[in-house]
Structure formats: C-alpha cells, structure tokens
Subunit: 367 residues, 2 copies
C-alpha cells in the first residue's frame, strides 16, 4: 500500500495525498471535503507511509545515533533508556552502538550512522576521534557529547564535575583521618578520567600526602581486571582507603577486597565513583552522577539543535555530582569545617561553560 495506490483508488493525484498526509492541505488550498475523503480512507485501510522512502526524499531520517561505551554498563544503559523515551516522544528513533572506547570501531560505527543518515548524534567519544567529530559538525550535523568531551573540539556537551568530585571525596577521606589513600582507576587519557585523577592528586598534594595511583587497563574479560586489582591490593596492605574511579572497577575492587578478606571500613575505607544499587546495598560511599538530569540535558540540547537550522552557540554543561555517604567511608570530620558546594548556576553564554547544580548532595541512588 503506497501513496500511489491511495491516489489511484481515490482518482486523485499522489501530490494531493502527500500534501494532506503532511498536513499541508490548508496551505495548499485543498478542499475540506477532499481532505476528509482522503483521511477517512487512510484511516480505513490503516496506511502508514514508508519511512525509508520518506527519508530518502527529505534527507531526514528521524533517527538519532547514540554511541556509548558499552550499553551493558548500567550508567550508559540508564542514560540510553531515558534518552529513548524522550526521543520517541518527539518522533525520533534511536540506533545505538557500543564502542568499547575503541577508536577504530567507533569510526566504523560513525560511518554506518552516516550511511543511515541519522539526523543527530549523541556520543560518548573514544580517544582520538576528534577529526571525525569535527567532520560531522562541519557537515552541519547536531552533535552532543557526554560523559567526556574533546578539549580540542568546540561542541556541545554534558559532563559532570569530575575534578571536584574526586577532589572532594579524597579530601573528605583525608579529613576523616586517612593517610594512605589509593586511587584505582582505568588507564585512560580521556577527560573524565584525567579529571578524576587530577582531583585526587590535587587533594593529596594539598595535604602533602603520598599519592598511590593504580591504573588498570580496561578489558572486557573481567578476570583481566580482577587479577591486577587483587595483586595490587594484596601488595599494599598498608593502604587505609581506596577511591575507585568508576563503578565497574569499583565493583571488581569490592569483589577482590572481599576475596582478600579485608574489612570495610576498618581495614580499608572505600569510595567509588558512580552510584548504583550495588553500592547502596553494599553500603559503599559513592560519588553519584545525576543521571536523569544528564540524560535530560543531552536530549533537550540535541532536540533543540535538530529544530534549529542555523547552529547557535555551543552549550557546555557541567553538572555537579553528589556524594552519597555510607558506611564504607564514615566521615568522622577530624578538624576542618565541612564545606558543601551548593554550586551556583552560572550561565556564561556563547560558547562558554554552564555549570548547573543539581542540588543533590548527599542524596542516595535513584536507580
């Protein structure tokens, strides 16, 4: 069943049907009578236009390409779900892919997205993808990055204040008497990871402590993460606290801590980046990302760009995280006054940074 069928059946032209279908009947001065006739017939036979043909003709696919690191990771999966809902509400569909942070893989996927003529891109960019992203932007595609950004590329993005998050967490550990604090994370030169590392290092330096940085290479096979984790923790029994750089490494870390029989928080205080059910239940203090707000900003930003023809100034959003304090790292508050950053909303417009507080400090997981 095509527009042509309808037209011939009703003895009118394809053009007329098309105009009616696209709500341009009024504008095109098509009589109400005919409009009714056509809409009735369409309802009767349950006709739906072929989206492919439509896309081919218009150049718009109503598809959003979503590129995450790994859709099976709860953080990305939740973001995906939230974005999906908003996208569908607005007549967009999502095609997604997982990159595993593999640049080559991401490049291929980007090609595939382009072949499919996706209208807009939501991307958690892998390393060294700058040129490809720039290319997309130059071609006029709306692109919103998230989770991390590319310092050399001027794009819209939504990230969290990684630096402050780990700085704050480390500082709290120090203030509550911890001296030998390790930061265990994935080896990565991406912004989010660098900033988390820097936050830790800054706090450590500020208090003239010795840094204990352990960077582990990511691998899909969990054993290859667990093993170095295990031996590191085993070798460094003197540690009194550990800060994990991501939920994934935190989860693995907890397993290894359990395996080693270490008591939390007595043998070892623990804080992990990212907050989810596991940490909540396991009473692990965690740095939580305002996941609903992140997704919301991402899709709002993208939809806005999709509806505008001319590109406006880029929006760079940095949301603040919250620290969910739990038993794995009791903050006994030795000394220094508690200082909570109820981050103000400062809107420096035009290509500059928007910091948005989510007002969520000290709030538990929502997942």
């Amino acid at each position: 069943m095509s527009i042509a069928d309808i037209a011939s059946r009703l003895n009118i032209s394809k053009t007329t049907v098309s105009f009616i279908l696209n709500g341009r009947a009024q504008e095109k001065r098509i009589s109400e009578k005919l409009v009714k006739q056509v809409t009735d017939y369409i309802a009767e036979v349950g006709y739906k236009p072929n989206a492919l043909a439509q896309s081919l003709a218009t150049g718009k696919s109503n598809i959003i390409g979503l590129m995450v690191e790994d859709i099976s990771n709860p953080f990305f999966a939740t973001i995906a779900r939230l974005i999906e809902d908003r996208a569908y509400e607005n007549g967009y569909k999502i095609v997604y892919c997982s990159t595993d942070n593999d640049t080559e893989r991401a490049r291929e996927q980007l090609k595939i997205f382009q072949d499919r003529h996706v209208d807009g891109y939501i991307i958690a960019p892998p390393p060294d993808i700058e040129a490809d992203i720039e290319q997309l932007i130059k071609q006029g595609f709306p692109v919103v990055l998230f989770d991390r950004y590319l310092p050399k590329v001027n794009t819209d993005y939504v990230v969290v204040d990684n630096y402050y998050s780990t700085y704050n967490a480390t500082r709290k550990l120090i203030e509550s008497g911890h001296k030998k604090i390790a930061f265990i994370t994935f080896l990565s030169e991406q912004t989010q990871m660098q900033e988390r590392r820097l936050g830790y290092e800054t706090a450590i330096k500020e208090f003239k402590l010795k840094p204990n940085l352990k960077e582990i290479k990511f691998h899909r096979n969990e054993e290859l993460i667990n093993e170095p984790l295990f031996s590191y923790l085993k070798k460094n029994r003197a540690l009194d606290a550990v800060l994990f750089g991501t939920d994934h490494i935190g989860t693995c870390g907890l397993k290894m801590i359990k395996k080693l029989g270490l008591k939390i928080p007595d043998d070892l205080a623990v804080i992990s980046f990212d907050d989810y059910s596991l940490f909540e239940l396991y009473s692990v203090t965690a740095i939580g990302q305002p996941i609903v707000e992140i997704a919301d900003h991402i899709i709002t930003l993208l939809l806005k760009k999709l509806n505008k023809t001319q590109s406006s100034s880029t929006q760079k959003m940095t949301l603040s995280t919250y620290l969910a304090e739990r038993e794995s790292a009791p903050f006994t508050n030795v000394g220094i006054a508690k200082k909570q950053s109820k981050a103000a909303i400062h809107q420096k417009d035009n290509g500059s940074i928007t910091t948005v507080s989510t007002g969520k400090d000290n709030k538990g997981s929502e997942l």
Copy 2:
C-alpha cells in the same frame, strides 16, 4: 556523491557501477580493467552507498528490531550488547526499544519497526501481543522471542527453564530446613512469571507446606515497589526464607530487608532469580541465566532465518539455569539426596522443544 556522479565522472553507466559495487561484475561480464578503474575511483573518493536508497530499492534494511522490556535492566542490556556485536559482525544494525511490558506501547513500536522496514525481530513480548506477532510471521518476517513466549503462537523462541529453576530452589530451601518460604514476585501472567510461580508452588505443595505468595505490581518508580515489599516483610516476620522472582524485585527486597534490619540468612534466607554482580558481592544465592548462551542462540536463530527464504520448522529452545549457591541460603542438606539436573540435550525436531543444558550448574556470575 552518488552512483550517478561516479558514472558520469568515469563516463560509464550507473548500471555498471552498481553491478561492480554489488560484486556482480564477474557474473555480468564486466572487464577487469573497468572493474579496477571503478573500484580504484571509489576507494579514492571514499564513496559509500546510501543505505536508505539501497533499502528502498531492495526492500531489505539490514536492520534488526530489538524489543526488550527495559534496556536499563542489566539482563536486557547485556543481551542487547551481545546481540549487537554479533549483528554488526554480520552486517546488521540494531534499533531497539523498551516496552515496559506495555502492550499499547509495544504495538506502536512494532509499527515503527515496520515503517523502518526492519528485516527481523527479536522480541521479549509483552502481554496480549499475540495477534501482532502472528501478523508479522504471516507476512514472512523472521521473529525470535526470548525471555518469555506466547503459548498460542507458534514461533521460535529462546527461554530458560523457569519452572525447574524455582522448583529446584524452593526444594533446596525446604530440604535445608526452611518451612515458611515466601515467593515474592511481580504480578504478571506472562509465561516466565507463571512458570516461576508454578515451580515454587509445586515444590511447596509436594512438601505439604503453606504457600506464601506475594505479587507486586511493577512500577517504574521504585518507591512503589519498595513500599509494599517493606510492609509485606514487616507483617510476615515469621518467614524463614524468601525467593524473589526477578533481579529487580530481589534488589528492592534486599534493600527493604536491610532497612528492616533483618539478618541474612539467620532471620531470613534469600534466593533471587537472575544473577549479577550485586548478588555475587552481597553473597546472595541466585538462579542465574546463561546470558551469553541465550543471546547467542537468539541471534544465531535469527540470522539463520534471515538467510533462508523459506521458513523452516520453528525452534523452541529452553536453556537450563544454574544455581549459584552463596551464603544467603546455605543448603545444609537435611535428608534428601542431592540431585542435580545435568539436563540432557534432547532434540525433538520440527516444531518441538529443544532443551539445551549449558552445563553451568553451581557456577557464579559472569557479568
């Protein structure tokens, strides 16, 4: 850049270019010289055919529609990830959607998939979707269901042996001395849930115990799950064990158990359906689904159907689960001999049931 551009640039016809692009040069007796000229030029300019136009012309989109209950659920997210990889390897892309088990929503999504001309469907079907699925099958689309199936529709599907799983778990609880065992699950008439319930009930009946069934209505807002859970557990302090019907309700349940200050397993033994990191770390005995195998069978089945024109007999696969025994429910083995179902592989062909053992009993999570 289109085929026409290439053709005119090289002073040949579109047809020739198209044949070469589709690897039909030999068959169409196009001279090697010309083929080389064209392929070189294509490589030079980095031409890629427009997938939309291609789909419109061929009727094939190389897209697989994946319909899950909720992509942010770890089970579905992991399945999605595994399927994604295999699909991409085989030149297929995935568009997905989450139904929340909402029939109307699923129907709409199915329409959208059809508009997009997806080539095949992988579906965790919501209730009352039988007619729509049948319609798809009648139209000749490959459809593979998973996680649950539709008894009234003759389709391929991949599920696990839900009945035996809960039967076995319940029985083990009984055999290790538990008398007041609750089964807490989501209210649902879908096969997987019915079977899980029946497994529990059968074991309870077999040992002449009193069933304690609590069915909670699913809601996306976790509070609306936690609340009835909390009051049920609070009212029924006499329970000595609880079996949760899904990971989600298990996770919520654990939170409420924690909130109530109940000790596991002394006050309450706990087993949950589905196995993931949380349960592993929290030492919760869990019924694990062989998630890798499930995804593998789903996509293998679908790819097979996509490559065949005529539909072969339907394949119904029931995989066995494994019981990961942990501290939340120590099986002290009071009495009855341990009996492990190393399920045989029985292949009743042609429209009948294939049971595949994954040989994974007693194995921990892999996530």
